[in-house]
Symmetry: C2
Subunit: 497 residues, 2 copies
């Protein structure tokens, strides 16, 4: 996979971009305070190791060669930087917490990195409406902490919350663990402040829940991965905190039971259902093998084809527990039970332990071998078919076994239609890579699915965009890109080739 990505970067069409030079660094020094300009070029001469964190992602999968990183503190500074870059055709990579998975925030060559890290102030919070206005560089966890004393939570939650920034969350339309309950950022983001590729500040930082006055331009920047402008401020609706959460793990004899189970759970738990996560048998066993607790007995697991984790979050613990207990009772006492058994968490430690089983799959796969990971959206009913078809395809190529692919497994967010298809191999090889692609993308396309449910396109999947978007859609994306960024300086060669 690394090789593949590196090959792609070699084939980039080289536009008439300028590299950052000393004279540019001098200009940036004239408009920014000293600590805000990091450059290996004179007169700055920052040591290269200080630039390294901006030139690679947390997975160390992508590497750029940026000589210069700017860390502006204000929107006006961002605007001045971008205006200058537009005049001098200097390409820019906007960078948030650098926690993406698809190489969207790393330079492909020596683009200028504009880090939002120093724009990290809360601008306002209204504890009545729950509307928060914050600089783009605020870290998700710090915003969560900021609103918590006011009995509110952020509408998104991610594993990367300690590092990722709200501006990056919005730019990548981050999904995460709360999407089932609180919906997408297209609904919860109320306003944005964006510096456009010519340096203009587009102020749509409204803190209104309803505003039907013309086109909702801010929506274009949600999920554009910094290719249409730099998000500098975010207005977002934060929901009231739930008062109680609990969870249960259910063992199912057949995958076919997942969908009727989901229907039953939705109906009985209604507004308190906050997660419905699927783990197949292979994923469960890998998680247990690599250190997670065995929630179920040998006997329970023996008859199970897959597992479901259900979480509730609600306003009163005794009501929620009563609903969940009644659900379990009705499931187990049915004439033809949809589940073999279920284990309800009895305390916060068990609650965390059940979640760790689900969340531990990722780590278990890494420990077991080298992972080819696909983050796809497909119809709920086809989750198992896609995993099975991939396994059979690899088998037909003679690639199944300890020598090549050890496991093919599926897990993910049933409630969101989002399957994480993982192929766990002894080693990364071109043969496996070629067997998987375009096979998996074509399989996804045959279900009218998405080749990137939540991770985005970045630089990794630009070649695969056509599997999920029609030629007409891609042509219109390019027109929008050309309209906002005629010189192509803003995060070039990301999202669109």
């Amino acid at each position: 996979m690394h090789d593949h990505v590196l090959r792609n970067t070699m084939n980039l069409v080289r536009r008439a971009y300028s590299s950052v030079a000393s004279k540019h660094v001098q200009f940036f020094q004239s408009i920014l305070p000293p600590h805000a300009v990091l450059s290996s070029l004179p007169p700055s001469n920052t040591p290269p190791d200080e630039l390294a964190p901006f030139n690679t992602d947390w997975m160390q999968k992508y590497r750029g060669q940026a000589t210069t990183v700017l860390k502006p503190k204000t929107t006006q500074q961002v605007s001045a930087i971008v205006r200058y870059c537009a005049e001098h055709t200097i390409p820019i990579v906007p960078q948030g917490g650098n926690t993406g998975l698809v190489g969207g925030s790393i330079p492909l060559r020596d683009e200028l990195v504009v880090s939002l890290a120093n724009m990290n102030s809360v601008r306002s919070f209204d504890p009545v409406s729950g509307i928060l206005v914050a600089d783009a560089g605020c870290i998700l966890q710090s915003l969560t902490d900021y609103v918590a004393p006011h009995n509110h939570i952020m509408p998104i939650d991610l594993g990367a919350k300690g590092s990722c920034q709200i501006g990056g969350n919005v730019a990548t339309n981050a999904g995460g663990l709360r999407l089932l309950r609180y919906g997408s950022l297209h609904g919860s983001v109320l306003g944005l402040e964006v510096v456009l590729p010519d340096g203009t500040i587009l102020d749509q930082l409204t803190s209104l829940r309803k505003d039907n006055t013309g086109y909702d331009l801010k929506q274009l920047f949600i999920g554009a991965e910094g290719t249409l402008g730099i998000i500098t401020g975010v207005s977002i609706l934060t929901p009231p905190s739930p008062q109680a959460s609990t969870n249960v793990i259910l063992a199912l004899p057949h995958f076919d039971n997942v969908l009727p189970l989901y229907k039953t759970v939705k109906r009985q738990l209604s507004e308190i259902l906050s997660a419905f996560e699927f783990i197949d048998r292979t994923a469960y066993e890998l998680a247990v093998k690599h250190g997670q607790g065995r929630a179920l007995s040998d006997e329970d697991v023996a008859g199970a084809e897959c597992f479901v984790l259900v979480e509730t979050s609600g306003g009163r613990r005794e009501h929620d527990e009563e609903k969940l207990t009644d659900l379990l009772t009705s499931l187990l006492e049915a004439d033809k039970p949809l589940i073999n058994t279920g284990v309800l968490s009895q305390n916060p430690a068990q609650f965390s332990s059940l979640w760790a089983l689900r969340e531990g799959v990722t780590e278990a796969v890494s420990k077991e071998g080298k992972a080819y990971k696909y983050d796809i959206s497909i119809p709920l009913a086809s989750f198992k078919d896609v995993v099975d078809a991939t396994r059979e395809h690899l088998d037909s190529k003679g690639l199944l076994g300890e020598h090549a692919v050890k496991h093919v497994l599926g897990y993910g967010h049933v409630g969101d239609g989002n399957l994480h298809l993982n192929i766990c191999a002894a080693a990364y090889t071109q043969e496996i890579q070629d067997a998987l692609e375009p096979f998996v993308y074509e399989l996804v396309a045959s279900y009218r699915g998405s080749v990137s449910a939540e991770h985005g396109i970045g630089s990794m999947k630009t070649h695969a965009l056509h599997y999920s978007k029609s030629a007409t859609s891609i042509a219109w994306m390019k027109k929008i890109k050309a309209l906002f960024d005629p010189k192509g300086i803003m995060n070039p060669n990301k999202v669109l080739e």
Copy 2:
């Protein structure tokens, strides 16, 4: 207000548009079945009274002079019509249920009307995910009825639900009564099929909950009021039906208590809170005067400055009632109670009666006199200030009293920050109009509010757009319009002047 609108239409800059002529009608007859072409021109010769319903809105406030109405049945037919119109520069007004309030769906002159009424089939519904895919012309109520047996509801609900169409709901980004609970259409619409102004079909009719593959173009058409293309199909997420609903009306001694009350109610009712509606004293008394039930005793009303209607919707009646009863008890037993009293509905008839009191304000205002209505978004804390400032301003102009303005009142959706400011006058006069505008718009702008929270811009408020959107925003809207519709044929002079 009528005069004002008519004046505006007289001032339209006349572009090089073609009027529909007989030769065009002949072409439309060649591609559509006979009943799908209504035209007063030969060879069709439809009687004018059959065209009248397409040339005026339900309020009879706007009147067009369209000679020709087409009622295509398929997306391909819409595409063929639009392609032909683009070639011949014939302006088009897309028309749904014609229930808008701002003249967005009525021709300003003799534009071609393309009615979506015959595109009224459900394309698919997945009872597990709740994802519904439907033709744009499906009536909201019929979709509500369609998903109800599967224990789902539509995420929007409007007074006009018996006539409005889902395509029109999306095109106008309709808000309505469920927004507090289920969020805006920017979150719940998953995909759209749109015929662009050159006739191209943009197929983004995905039924995926998550899809991060490039720019979310469909968002541009949500709230564009048909000026960027004709929505022909909608994919939308429908929530599970709540199992129980109940409501309560609360009398507050002071407006200042509304905000702490909202905070308390949000915290205690959490996920089951589905409406929090505000009615000021004047609005309450008008509703009672004109036939709605008096929910509270004379004594309760005497000490009340305003009223709040709280609705809950949840998964189990006994849990919801317990939460609501506990809320009322804690409110009434507080050391410094935020409310004077509260009346909890005890049965479905009382539930409807409390809602009728809130919803009856609109009708009461119509019965009392001539209404100047403003649908604005402003910070919750300023609701009363805006009503008071408007009243004082009219008083300072000598316009308050039986001879001119009888009442100035406010009601609306506190939870959404959406105030309906109503000025109830003995008659529509230019003097009152001039006293109100631009006064009200400037007042809204001073709070960074929205001059159209949910009704849209249409042809009525194009001149007021700048009170809510910056010059930069409006300039970018115009660039987007020019990109999608370079000939300006799609719903011309709506949204943008």
